[in-house]
């Protein structure tokens, strides 16, 4: 007997007798013979729990995880500290093994946590309303582009060159069908060229101006200036922001953003080789009926007691089908729960401390690393917890050398922009210690010598 299956042969027999079928095979009679697989699946034989644990440990051990390596990688995924309490709470089966709260009376736990999540994200981003989550930061940005085009009836979306290139590629994929054109404003100094943006943002064609802050290169953008340019042309301002930074950095909503999206992995979600992640999506109240994804609202039950439901569902695919605001069905409720517990645990002060420590350590790291001859900051703009270094030798070679010293040195930028072939993107979170940063600087000094 396989341990995940329940029916014994005797029970199978009894059930077949009730059904009035001679065999399970008889129940499959509608499948024509020529549609049947005439052999067993060609897969590895079943592994017992102990065997499989050994096999999986060996696979996992072949990876350089951040427990054994000092991680200075960023580019959209960050090694922030995740308090242990989160894993304990999400593993409660009532959360973990429930589905979308289609029966609200039996799903108040999930619905309440999503309502808390929406409140926290609205507060951090400075927006009126946040949805129950989207897959990841990239698809959140893609959905924002679609939404801006639908709201404004316009067909162009202008992206700052500092927007994460991986997000740009996802947005391009989503915009292909609706024929939304993506245009780019250069960032020669690391941040958006505001004069170029003013020229490119068009009063009849541009649905949205999109910036990310801090951007892919770690530089801080002038959100208010971008908002002025977008709004003067009747376009929306979409801001991609990482919520873990928003204890310290100004809420984009207070600077004029109409839609705020972001990757919420930094607030309590493990990196897990890039997924699952947490797509944050928040907007102004006037746009709520055009938003993608699920929304939870408060209401009352028959006795007048407070309760929570999925609401404004006429936007969604299971009702509107081809005319829905988005094709999204599943969100990432469990990751949103991780984020909710993270924000509750860290609180106002904890998020400030995470942000301040990350920024201070990044500053310290930048000072140490740029004191090495031939190593400099690529961009002059102020940065937050991540910065691009210009190296005198191939970044790929540096990464390879430092890996042997158990240092994940950063992300070579060549793959994302050929013009930045000599650059390494370095991220520093509150988890890095002075000793790790000093060791990184020593190793880099030798590697470029």
């Amino acid at each position: 007997m396989q341990r995940y299956l329940a029916n014994t042969p005797a029970e199978q027999r009894a059930m077949l007798d009730t059904i009035g079928a001679p065999s399970i095979e008889a129940l499959l009679a509608r499948i024509p013979a020529k549609a049947r697989l005439p052999r067993a699946l060609d897969l590895p034989a079943a592994a017992a729990e102990l065997e499989l644990i050994r096999e999986m440990r060996a696979l996992a051990a072949a990876n350089a995880d951040v427990n054994g390596y000092a991680c200075f990688l960023g580019g959209g995924s960050y090694d922030h500290f995740v308090p242990g309490v989160i894993n304990h709470m999400i593993l409660r089966g009532e959360f973990f093994t429930a589905y979308t709260p289609y029966q609200p009376e039996a799903s108040q736990g999930t619905l309440r946590t999503i309502y808390e999540y929406q409140t926290m994200m609205a507060e951090l981003t400075g927006m009126d309303v946040a949805n129950a989550s989207i897959y990841d930061g990239a698809s959140s940005l893609a959905e924002a582009a679609l939404m801006a085009a639908a709201v404004t009836g316009r067909s162009d979306v202008v992206l700052a060159a500092g927007v994460n290139p991986l997000y740009r590629r996802v947005t391009q994929t989503y915009c292909d069908g609706p024929r939304i054109k993506l245009r780019t404003v250069a960032a020669p100094d690391g941040t958006i060229d505001l004069d170029a943006a003013r020229k490119l943002v068009d009063g009849t064609k541009t649905a949205a101006l999109v910036i990310q802050t801090p951007n892919f290169y770690g530089c801080l953008e002038d959100v208010a200036a971008a908002a002025e340019i977008a709004h003067a042309a009747g376009a929306l301002l979409v801001v991609a922001a990482d919520p873990v930074n928003l204890g310290v950095l100004e809420a984009p909503g207070r600077l004029g953003a109409d839609i705020v999206v972001g990757e919420g992995q930094g607030i309590g979600v493990p990196m897990s080789f890039g997924g699952p992640s947490l797509g944050v999506f928040a907007a102004k109240k006037a746009l709520v009926r055009r938003m993608p994804g699920r929304l939870v609202g408060a209401t009352v039950d028959l006795d007048g007691q407070r309760g929570f439901v999925l609401t404004l569902q006429t936007r969604e695919q299971h009702i509107r089908r081809a005319k829905a605001t988005s094709n999204i069905c599943t969100n990432v409720a469990l990751c949103a729960l991780m984020a909710t517990i993270y924000v509750a645990t860290m609180g106002t002060q904890g998020l400030i401390e995470v942000g301040e420590q990350s920024a201070a350590k990044a500053r310290y790291a930048a000072d140490r690393l740029t004191s090495i001859p031939g190593v400099s900051l690529r961009f002059p703009a102020p940065f937050f917890k991540e910065f691009a270094l210009k190296l005198p030798v191939s970044p790929d070679r540096v990464v390879g050398k430092l890996l042997k010293q158990r240092i994940l040195a950063g992300v070579p930028l060549k793959r994302f922009d050929r013009a930045l072939g000599d650059c390494l993107l370095v991220a520093v979170t509150e988890k890095r210690t002075r000793a790790e940063i000093d060791a990184f600087a020593d190793a880099l000094r030798k590697a470029v010598a």
């Binding site: 995940y4 299956l5 329940a6 029916n7 059930m15 509608r30 024509p32 699946l41 897969l43 592994a47 999986m56 440990r57 696979l59 072949a62 990876n63 991680c71 009532e94 589905y99 029966q103 039996a106 799903s107 108040q108 309440r112 808390e116 897959y135 698809s139 994460n164 991986l166 996802v170 391009q172 989503y174 292909d176 609706p178 024929r179 801080l220 204890g247 100004e250 990757e263 897990s272 997924g275 992640s277 709520v288 408060a298 407070r306 309760g307 081809a322 094709n327 999204i328 599943t330 969100n331 990432v332 469990l334 517990i341 509750a344 860290m346 609180g347 106002t348 995470v354 937050f384 994940l408």
Partner: protein, 486 residues
């Protein structure tokens, strides 16, 4: 009258907050100099108003909230088309191995060989299970898999210089099918189903011409039946140059029995959170890998995991690719769980999954056929659809029955889906449930059918044992209250 199962608890975490209380501890900053690198103009002016609670406040609050949920671990959850089966605990341990959970997605390929190996092998195993030539693991959920699949079909037609503008979808389809197809830039044409949920081949044939890019269909269909003429259908489509897409939501019924690729499908997606036991988590994350035949390989999302000799790598050089769906490579944590599950089951175990899923659904169908109208005659595959039209004559709807089930200790089946069945209750027991559980559920369903005749008010009043009673949906939509304001 029964009593509420959980003690009344009506707090939000914000309502537990006490200024100055703290739930975390971080090491002191050990580098010299404060964060004076961040100029004032970028700094937050008003601190975020977030809860201030202790760690124990957090534990008790979320423990209490969890008790206001039904989950598979605690309740039978026969939500049709969602495959709410047991989520093995071993999967969770494996997904949390440090080498997987604490791995950065942009680690060099040389530093992530274990993860890339797992992805490569999982892609091969899913290809074998579906009879496909290649699989992309990148889509984050079924709907994103649909988008990826339809975009690949579009790119394929475009590469042949064909301008096809429509996609045909049966009226019994999941809502994501038309939504994803519309997002991919196609006009959606609905084709009729027979009363048993099968494709009306004559209606389909009338629509098939050189303007049609694809036909998208769920197998087994949403009434729980295998499409008996499926090979004829895929051949007919191909004869008109039309690609055929299989929604793999119901793959749990046919593991090792029939394969989409062998049936003639060009594309199919997998819901790892259904067939392959990754947890639903209250509504995601899912994972929606998409399998394709060889002619669509050039269009796969980037990057693709490749094997060069004994070394695995992410291949980005794919000029005809449809692009990316997620920033990184897929919901990797879910891929680890699915891999663990497939390795645990092996080929015979997976076949036994479908055999028992089909047996359980037919058993439930048989036990309910005296008291409920069947949407289609049996035998069914992995799920069965019954109609409450008989109960509705007594004023008891599918919704009422669903609510009454909550009082009797069961989560509800899917209701009002598929749209082609009046007062539909779609029941998917899954293979992991025992005969005892199915008997208890069927007894409850039969009891409710009797109550509908003799004591309909009892059913209308339900639920009364849940933390809240029926909720005012109209108020929620008319006066949206989407965040706590104190």
């Amino acid at each position: 009258m029964a009593h509420k199962a959980a003690p009344a608890y009506d707090k939000l975490v914000f309502e537990l907050s006490s200024p100055g209380r703290q739930g975390y501890a971080l090491p002191a900053n050990d580098v010299p100099g404060a964060a004076d690198g961040v100029p004032a103009k970028y700094r937050r002016t008003i601190p975020a108003a977030l809860p201030e609670v202790s760690e124990f406040d957090v534990v008790r609050h979320y423990s209490r909230l969890s008790r206001m949920n039904y989950g598979v671990d605690t309740h039978f959850y026969p939500l049709g088309s969602c495959t709410m089966k047991y989520n093995p605990k071993l999967n969770e341990d494996m997904a949390r191995l440090p080498g997987f959970i604490a791995l950065h997605p942009l680690a060099p390929d040389a530093a992530s060989q274990g993860a890339l190996t797992l992805m490569y092998e999982l892609g091969r195993m899913l290809s074998e299970i579906a009879g496909m030539d290649a699989v992309s693991l990148q889509p984050a959920a079924g709907a994103q898999g649909e988008l990826a699949g339809v975009l690949m079909i579009r790119a394929y037609h475009a590469s042949r210089g064909e301008k096809r503008t429509k996609v045909l979808i049966p009226d019994s389809a999941h809502g994501t099918n038309p939504a994803s197809t519309a997002l991919a830039g196609y006009e959606v044409i609905e084709v009729k189903s027979t009363r048993d949920g099968e494709v009306e081949i004559d209606d389909l044939a009338r629509h098939l011409d050189e303007t049609v890019a694809a036909f998208m269909i769920t197998v087994p269909n949403t009434l729980g039946n295998f499409e008996p003429r499926i090979i004829e259908i895929t051949n007919l489509c191909h004869s008109k140059g039309v690609q055929v897409y299989m929604d793999g939501a119901n793959l749990n019924a046919i593991l090792g029995i029939a394969r989409p690729g062998d049936l003639g499908f060009d594309v199919c997606h997998f819901n790892l959170h259904k067939t392959f036991t990754t947890p639903h988590g209250g509504g995601g994350p899912g994972a929606g890998p998409v399998g394709i035949k060889a002619h669509l390989e050039p269009f796969l999302p980037t990057p693709v995991v490749v094997k060069n000799g004994e070394v695995y790598a992410l291949d980005w050089k794919r000029p005809k690719s449809i692009g990316k769906l997620q920033a990184f490579w897929g919901n990797f944590g879910m891929l680890v769980r699915a891999y663990t599950y497939i390795r645990t089951m092996g080929p015979d175990g997976l076949r036994a999954v479908s055999d028992n899923a089909v047996l359980n659904a037919n058993y439930v169908m048989k036990r309910l056929e005296q008291d409920y109208d069947l949407a289609a005659p049996g035998p069914c595959m992995h799920e069965c659809v019954v109609s409450a039209r008989r109960q509705k004559k007594h004023g008891v709807t599918a919704m009422d029955i669903a609510k009454r089930l909550l009082d009797l200790g069961f989560y509800a089946p899917s209701t009002y889906f598929p749209l082609i069945v009046e007062e539909a209750l779609m029941i998917e027991p899954t293979e992991t449930e025992s005969k005892q559980t199915l008997d208890a559920f069927c007894d409850a369903m039969i009891q409710i059918a009797r109550e509908a005749e003799r004591a309909p008010d009892l059913v209308h009043e339900a639920p009364v044992t849940t933390p809240v009673r029926r909720l005012d949906q109209t108020k929620a939509a008319r006066e949206p209250d989407l965040k706590w304001t104190g």
